[in-house]
């Protein structure tokens, strides 16, 4: 009986040791990281880290209702435009000026431009040239 208890305890301990680090790692890896949109314009940076870790949002805040799980799938849609955001679609669901800063403000907070894109892709930005 005692032997069984010890055995169970060891198993529980083992499982606990296995689970806890997985949980810790999960918060860093189980979100999608940086998403860089290039359509219709280059480029917009969406940071999962900022939204999930800093603002502690749940996955289902956005998925699957507002955005599909597949990254960048949304930019194939014709209505993935600023107009749609102003109408409360996509990012505009929260970025409406009350839940989060409005879609028609602070443009370069999300828009990182061609320069930002090249930097993230590790390309040299042609200083001075086109």
């Amino acid at each position: 009986m005692k032997k069984e208890m010890i055995c169970l305890f060891v198993i529980i301990l083992f499982v606990a040791v296995m689970i806890v680090p997985v949980k810790l790692v999960a918060s860093e890896e189980e979100h999608g990281g940086d998403i860089i949109y290039t359509i219709p314009l280059k480029s917009v940076l969406f940071s999962h880290k900022k939204h999930v870790e800093d603002f502690e949002m749940d996955c289902d805040s956005c998925h699957d209702d507002i955005f599909e799980m597949e990254s960048l799938a949304v930019q194939q849609k014709n209505d993935f435009t600023m107009e749609s955001l102003y109408d409360g679609k996509y990012c505009g669901a929260c970025h409406d000026g009350s839940t989060a800063f409005a879609s028609n403000s602070q443009c370069a907070r999300c828009h990182i431009g061609v320069k930002g894109y090249n930097r993230l892709m590790g390309k040299e930005t042609g200083e001075g040239g086109h």
Binding site: A108, H111, G129
Partner: protein
Amino acid sequence: MKINHENSNDDMNTPSKMQRREFLKLGFMITGVFAGGTVLSLASNIDVFASPEEFAAQYPYKPHYSMLIRQNRCIDCELCLKACAETNEVPSYGYRTNILERIVPDALGQKREFIPVLCNQCNNPPCVRVCPTKASYKDKTNGIVTIERRKCIGCKGCVLACPYNARYFSEEVHSIDKCDFCFDKRLSKGEELTACAAACPTGARTFGDISDPQDFVFKMIHQIHNPVWVLIEGAGSKPNVFYMKA
């Protein structure tokens, strides 16, 4: 604006009307009341004109082309740079316009801003002044700073003189090349906008004729709600590219 010393009056108790006017004008200049006033000034751009002639003296060309950069709208999509290069056959090593990036790490919220830059088509252009062959000149009708390529000897004096770094030497045409507000490729052919302004999806680049008080750019730079400024005003070149955040 200089103080007119010729009108000096010995009797300091009764300054002449002219002196009084000059003094007031100087005051307006210091407080930045005239258009394109300093960034420091709170109301940088109310115009006080004594007469229609004075207004015409500020915008002496017809049309008087101008560009208004609404800086906060620029997202560095660079469609303008692409349109410019295609329209004006700009080689890959050259540029007629560019977009600068400024990052302010300590700022709250937005930490990045993009600043489109181009030739300011100055009313008092240092590049024209230094040109030894008069290849660079200011068009007498529309005020666009233009280069007559066959006269350019490639001395690059103008490249050094330009406060806005708006010029480069083109190996292709063996001449300095620069923005001409697309006069050669578009405006002279009846188009109303420069290629960059036409390509801009956000309204960051707005092109207009400020000799016309009904023009959008004219209206935007003659209001007091939002500050308007020019780049490197201290160079004294009297630029025709204005900046604001609206």
